[in-house]
């Protein structure tokens, strides 16, 4: 009895103390000193900011947001005499007054360790929720707060709910508070939270809900049990669905890479029967040309830097196609009747190109600016994230497919190429310049390899050796699909991509690759002409 009373009094005092602290004016210099200090002090400073934010005035809120943002972004500079911060625009201001200032000579930037960062970032998000200027910023901030719910932040969220004007944001905050009530002692509130969570299925939600099964209410309250079990099974269903989607997406993204690496080869091999082991290096050169385009943009058009990837498309194609054409007329054309020698000769070319690039550019990975449109991704459903860079690769592969199909089916060049593929002598007899067609086809195949290199820039490391990764895979794709059929190459790429991704989680990446390659080898023993083959007289 006494103890309970005591507890109540203590609680009262605590609340009182807190609210009285909140009414005190913000001591900016002290706070800054804390944020400039060692890790425990930073934590204490951040915590007191969070507590103050529930009641602080608007000017103080803006200030707190600016300082914490600068801290996280490492724009804060702690000098012995003064603390300054660099605004995102670049101007240096006094951290206490936000008046223009110069950086102190002794200034050093405080480093957040992981623990502090884990605390500061949600607080900053909560502040953004209060003072953010844009609905999107606020929604993102809300998500961040929801992800790491801290008791001190609940008051801020409640305050945000009160002052929010935008109905969309207000609604989102409303539902977030309901979700955050998952740990509330009131089973009814919990039930609402459970329903909210089941509407956003993810492994995380599932974990949160599974924990609730140990709550006393689970066994005591039938309605509660039903709500929880229903929510869990609903999430599990969504997760299963999202896993299927994720597998398909991963498979398609692998398939798109395989297809792009293989399509140029398919054209060259199909038309001329020459195996170009330097195809991977043309791909690598495509990536390097993309890099040079980026550097050119950086030097000449820094404002449009994000668009270098698009601008590089025609340049990469032209450069690699020209290299391919030069290669064809200087070397490859001598090997049309000696395909085995062509293997060695093109390997020599590949060796040469790799080493040429190596001594010119060095061995390090090239540094690419990731354009804003390729950064990150979007959660579609459950755990399924669509990452923009892979979507770019898929889209690019589709465009390549469309373009190649168009060239092969709708242009004179394509018609001539198909004629030469079917019967070289006859095509020559009816006046097709087979030499010229060879050269153009080789240029096309090389250009496509270059484009594959471009599309890989945002996904893979670009270095002189990158081409060798692809060569065996793309050959197997071409042969599996059947020589000389675009559809075959496409189907083979999709098939191999999907099977690979299906096997990978169970047996690991290497085993998946081994199994898939062995399957292809066996298949080719059984059907050497591949999936889609043009039949003709043997010999």
């Amino acid at each position: 009895m006494w103890s309970r009373l005591l507890a109540a009094v203590a609680l009262f005092c605590l609340v009182g103390a807190q609210s009285s602290a909140a009414q005190q004016p913000l001591d900016r210099p002290t706070l800054l000193r804390q944020l400039c200090g060692e890790a425990p002090e930073v934590l204490a400073g951040a915590q007191s900011t969070a507590e103050l934010a529930a009641t602080a005035g608007e000017a103080d809120l803006d200030w707190m947001q600016a300082v914490l943002f600068a801290l996280v972004d490492r724009r804060l500079s702690c000098g012995d005499d003064a603390v300054t911060l660099r605004l995102p625009a670049g101007t240096i201001v006094n951290a206490s007054t936000l008046a223009p200032a110069t950086e102190s000579a002794s200034g050093r930037t405080p480093i957040l360790n992981l623990r502090s960062r884990g605390v500061v970032e949600p607080i900053l998000a909560a502040l953004n929720l209060l003072v953010g200027k844009d609905a999107n910023v606020k929604l993102e901030a809300l998500r961040a707060v929801e992800k790491k719910p801290q008791p001190t932040l609940l008051a801020i969220v409640e305050r945000a709910l009160k002052i929010e004007r935008d109905p969309q944001v207000k609604g989102a905050i409303q539902s977030a508070t309901e979700t955050l009530a998952l740990r509330s002692p009131d089973p009814e509130k919990q039930k609402i939270a459970i329903r909210r969570l089941s509407e956003e299925p993810s492994t995380r939600s599932l974990t949160l809900l599974l924990n609730l099964r140990s709550e006393p209410a689970y066994n005591a309250n039938a309605g509660y049990k039903a709500a929880l079990d229903g929510a869990i099974s609903s999430i599990e269903r969504w997760l299963a669905f999202s896993n299927v989607l994720a597998t398909i997406y991963n498979g398609m993204s692998l398939a798109s890479i395989l297809f792009m690496a293989a399509v140029g080869l398919a054209i060259i091999f199909g038309l001329m029967g020459v195996i170009n082991l330097a195809q991977g290096e043309l791909l690598m050169i495509g990536a390097y040309v993309t890099f040079l385009v980026q550097e050119a943009f950086r030097a000449v058009l820094p404002g449009l830097l994000d668009w270098y990837l698009i601008a590089a498309i025609p340049i990469v194609f032209t450069v690699t196609a020209t290299i391919g054409m030069a290669l064809e007329s200087s070397l490859i054309r001598h090997f049309y009747s000696r395909p085995l020698m062509s293997l060695l000769a093109t390997w020599a070319v590949s060796l040469f190109l790799v080493n040429l690039v190596r001594v010119t550019f060095g061995t390090q990975n090239l540094q690419f600016v990731v354009p804003f449109y390729l950064k990150g991704g979007i959660t579609v459903v459950g755990d399924f994230i669509i990452t923009w860079n892979r979507l770019f690769a898929i889209g690019f592969a589709l465009l390549t497919l469309g373009g190649t199909y168009y060239i092969l089916r709708r242009t004179t060049l394509g018609l001539n190429m198909r004629a030469v593929t079917l019967n070289r002598t006859m095509a020559g007899c009816i006046g097709i310049k087979t030499r010229q067609i060879d050269r153009l086809a080789f240029a096309l195949g090389s250009g496509l390899a270059g484009l594959a290199g471009l599309a890989l820039c945002p996904i893979y490391n670009v270095n002189p050796q990158m081409g060798t990764l692809f060569i065996i895979d793309s050959f197997m794709i071409v042969v599996l699909g059947g020589v000389g059929t675009l559809v075959g190459t496409l189907v083979a790429a999709i098939g191999v991509g999907q099977i690979n991704v299906l096997i990978e989680p169970a047996y690991g990446a290497v085993a998946a690759k081994v199994i898939v390659l062995l399957m292809i080898i066996l298949f080719l023993q059984w059907r050497p002409e591949g999936l889609f083959a043009v039949k003709g007289r043997r010999k």
Partner: protein, 413 residues
């Protein structure tokens, strides 16, 4: 990298032309009268080239410095380099060639444990000396190898302790992702035993391996995301992939939107050079541990960084002048340690130099005074834990008080 321009191209041309003048190069080794030769086993081609390549130049820089002070025992050091092309047996081949044909006084080299293991029988048979500049899995103590960097007990374990402490992230669950070879396997084996001794259940540990040079981490990062969302406490990733798999992994990690505050990555082999191709802003906070980080304060480091920058610009070295990584410093230390030992022994003979190791010490750029004892061939080094910053480098968030005594054989596993 931004200045790959005519100069580089011209350099290449010059290289190729020089090659055509082969005989001139072949006669080079004839002028060996007043010199003592040291051999380098670092690849300038293949998967390891980006990392190992720069160590050749550091060795030359260290030798130049020593030579400028009058050399060792009155002789100038000549550095002999080669290209084992990231091909492990070739390290053994070239190592043999250097010891038996070139008669080098000591070898400096290898990055991966595989390559060291392949050279080991060669140096043991020829009774040579190999200075190995990488931190590694330990459990080895050959009298013919000087382990300049730290075994796990004095580098990895402190970093893991930090992650598990409340000062770190109070890590409870561990996803181990490594390249499939001896170093990651051994490290993970020891870590598992260590965690077991700390009462962490098996269910809180996951172990995955990818082949060297693996690049498609989409599925694995999916798995990590899942693992992180499962119950049981704060997850961390212990990353022991090497070479190009490191940036590939981080790229996918960024794209799937995982932050260091959600799932921190302790990248045991991540150096500044691995971050070169990346936008590291979304990676801020991930951790690494080494016996040297570029950000360390102190005159020794300032001098080292300045010397390296000058060396790179004056000798047109194809690496960044403003990036220094632990193995570079370790190689620098190694050359100096050898010179100290040889000077102390008064001889270049391996048995004499070996005897002289006990008690030598050197002011390492890391700011620590590193030393060797008669107990083993390990060098006592300091330990740093670094956190990735937005400038493709590391901020030091923890460092050891002094140089812990190296423990070659792990008590765990």
């Amino acid at each position: 990298m931004n200045e790959l321009s005519r100069r580089n191209v011209l350099q290449t041309m010059a290289g190729v032309t020089a090659g055509l003048a082969m005989p001139a190069i072949l006669t080079r080794s004839a002028k060996a009268a007043g010199t003592v030769k040291l051999g380098c086993l670092f690849s300038s081609s293949g998967t390891m080239a980006n990392l190992e390549g720069r160590l050749n130049f550091v060795a030359k820089m260290a030798a130049d410095e020593i030579n400028a002070k009058g050399g060792v025992l009155g002789k100038t050091i000549e550095i002999v380099t080669a290209d084992p092309a990231s091909d492990w047996p070739l390290y053994a081949q070239i190592g043999r060639q250097m010891l038996q044909q070139e008669k080098v006084a000591a070898l400096f080299g290898c990055w991966t444990s595989v390559s060291r293991k392949s050279v080991l029988p060669v140096v043991e048979q020829a009774n040579g000396l190999l200075f190995y500049p990488l931190h590694f899995e330990g459990d080895e103590n050959s009298k013919n190898v000087v382990y300049v960097n730290s075994p796990p007990a004095s580098s990895v374990i402190p970093a893991v302790d930090y992650l598990m402490s409340s000062e770190g992230v109070s890590a409870k669950r561990f996803f181990m992702l490594g390249s499939d070879y001896v170093w990651p396997r051994t490290i993970n084996k020891q870590l598992k035993a260590y965690w077991k001794s700390k009462g962490i259940p098996e269910t809180a540990m996951r172990e995955e391996y990818v082949p060297l040079g693996f690049s498609n981490f989409q599925t694995l990062v999916n798995q990590i995301r899942k693992f992180a969302d499962e119950p049981g406490g704060q997850p961390v990733v212990v990353l022991t992939t090497v070479g190009s798999s490191i940036p590939d992994f981080f790229r996918e990690f960024i794209n799937q939107g995982i932050k260091a505050t959600d799932v921190p990555v302790l990248g045991l082999d991540v150096v500044e050079a691995d971050l070169e191709g990346l936008d590291t802003k979304p990676l801020i906070g991930h951790l690494t541990c080494w016996a040297y980080l570029q950000g360390t304060k102190g005159p020794a480091n300032a001098k080292f960084l300045k010397d390296w920058a000058t060396y790179v610009t004056s000798k047109k070295v194809p690496f960044k002048p403003d990036v220094a990584i632990d193995p570079m410093v370790s190689t620098y230390d190694a050359i100096n340690l050898w010179a100290l030992a040889a000077a102390k022994a008064g001889s270049f003979d391996v048995p004499e130099v070996q005897k002289a190791f006990a008690g030598i010490s050197f002011d390492c750029p890391s700011g620590y005074k590193i030393s060797m004892t008669s107990e083993n061939n390990y060098v006592a080094r300091g330990v740093f834990i670094g956190s990735v910053n937005e400038k493709q480098g590391f901020d030091i968030i923890w460092q050891s008080k002094d140089t812990p005594k190296p423990v070659p054989f792990s008590p765990f596993g």
